[in-house]
């Protein structure tokens, strides 16, 4: 990926919603609640600038809190994959 010299935290930008890495227990509860396997979630690459900024490793589940145009704040999840 690009931009190794110029370090800037992408999470401050307006376009980027809040990302949080879930603990194993939380991730388990989420998957149980949705009744799906982790790979059925949308994916997030481990090389994604935001994933690197929050230190997400492949196998983690990231909770994303977006501002939705229709439903206020909504919560989605992404499964971190290598690549």
């Amino acid at each position: 990926m690009r931009s190794a010299s110029k370090k800037l935290d992408p999470t401050i930008h307006d376009l980027v919603p809040k990302h949080e890495v879930l603990s194993v227990e939380e991730a388990y509860t989420v998957l149980k609640q949705l009744g799906i396997g982790p790979e059925q979630l949308p994916w997030l690459k481990a090389t994604d600038p935001v994933a690197r900024a929050i230190g997400a490793k492949p196998g983690d589940i990231v909770k994303i809190t977006r501002k939705s145009r229709t439903g206020g704040e909504i919560v989605t999840y992404r499964y971190v994959i290598s690549g």
Partner: protein, 392 residues
């Protein structure tokens, strides 16, 4: 209108519904209950809340609904009205912006570089109020090479020197002084030379160690293509008043390049280059940008499409963690079903490759089931139930 007691009661009811109903709907419920001209009783509040919940649940999409098809038609139908206005450009002062159908195609094709890349740069508090300060930053952004400010050059073979005549108007326009050019040239490693300034707009560079003309010509090329200032990719930067602040609009986009430039409010920088946003700000930002850009194009043409359809498009494009186009090299091309891919484009190649690999067709999607004349798995047809007969 609500008495204090009832307001508390309503709050309590609403907090029970937090996980079932989105915040905006609850907020609207609260606002309209408060704004209602008649005072509401406890029973009435119960009834209202009950109706809201029922109404909300009724308007949810049913499991098995073909939302993709609905979205495709909802964007496609108004899209047909756009076709007549293909290649419509609207001038933002001196800049051209691709709008309408070409831009829409560009977004769903996820092109690496948009045909008219553009940035809107917002400035920090101390800069945004003054036009002079904004112009100063804008000039710093514009990518300027030596050749942009040169009128003509002469090569003197006898003394092995290059004479550069500058264009005074261009120098003023770009905000560059001869000293800046001299500084830029000095950073180059082109051998030993001396620089003379016979008049205001001329530089004479005399080389002492070059022996043939070819190297002299090469040296001229090197000098002319030297960057004086600016950010790569930004062809022009224009200051424009937007609301009560000055913003910079640029022709060309380089999100990474403007990081760290003083006075720029990076938090609010906008660009229409999807690929740059993906690599600098991540996939979620790209998702949001796709939604915004499609919405902008449609709104611009006066077409009213529900955002949910647009968000479905951006969601499917960013599902795998990278931006995929809607088409052969993206979403459609990665379908698991052989027949569905073959039905789209390059039929023979898909069928041939599939048979060579020994692929299995599972008949789970819509297209492949229609091809062989089977009911498709949609709506109530999605449920797979088999009766186990037992002996009486």
């Amino acid at each position: 209108m609500l008495s204090e007691e009832m307001e508390k009661y309503l709050e309590e009811r609403i907090s029970q519904l937090r996980d079932q109903i989105p915040d905006t709907a609850l907020q609207k419920l609260k606002d309209s209950a408060k704004g209602y001209p008649v005072e509401l009783t406890k029973e009435e509040i119960d009834k209202i809340v009950e109706l809201v919940v029922e109404d909300y649940k009724n308007s949810l999409i049913n499991p098995g609904e073909a939302i993709g098809i609905v979205a495709a038609q909802s964007i496609g139908e108004p899209g047909t009205q756009m076709t007549l206005r293909t290649f419509h450009y609207a001038g933002v002062r001196e800049l051209n912006v691709t709008l309408g159908l070409p831009r829409l195609i560009e977004i769903v094709d996820a092109r690496k570089v948009p045909s008219t890349p553009m940035m809107t740069i917002y400035l920090e508090d101390e800069y945004k109020g003054s036009k002079e300060k904004a112009t100063e930053i804008a000039r710093k952004l514009e990518y300027t090479k030596v050749e942009n400010v040169v009128d003509y050059t002469n090569i003197d073979m006898a003394s092995m020197s290059i004479e550069i005549h500058f264009d005074g108007d261009m120098l003023r326009d770009k905000g560059v002084s001869i000293d800046d050019v001299e500084k830029a040239i000095k950073k180059l490693k082109i051998g030993e030379y001396t620089i003379d300034k016979p008049d205001e707009l001329t530089l004479v560079i005399t080389f002492s160690n070059l022996d043939n003309i070819t190297t002299l010509f090469k040296a001229r090329e090197r000098i002319l293509s030297t960057k004086i200032k600016g950010v790569k990719g930004i062809k022009r930067a224009i200051v424009k008043k937007s609301g009560d602040e000055y913003v910079i609009i640029t022709d060309g986009s380089n999100l990474e390049g403007i990081i760290g430039i003083k006075g720029i409010d990076f938090k609010r920088v906008e660009t229409n280059s999807l690929h740059e946003v993906e690599s600098v700000l991540g996939i979620e930002a790209a998702r949001e940008l796709i939604s915004r850009e499609i919405k902008k194009v449609l709104d611009d043409q006066g077409l009213d499409v529900d955002v949910r359809h647009i968000e479905l498009v951006s969601e499917i494009m960013t599902r795998t963690g990278e931006v995929r186009q809607i088409g052969r090299h993206g979403v459609t091309g990665e379908k698991t079903s052989v027949l569905a891919r073959a039905a789209f484009e390059v039929t023979v190649k898909h069928l041939l490759d599939a048979s060579a690999r020994g692929d299995v067709e599972e008949f789970k999607g819509v297209v492949e089931n229609i091809i062989i004349g089977q009911p498709i798995k949609l709506g109530t047809g999605m449920v797979e139930l088999l009766m186990t007969p037992t002996s009486r």
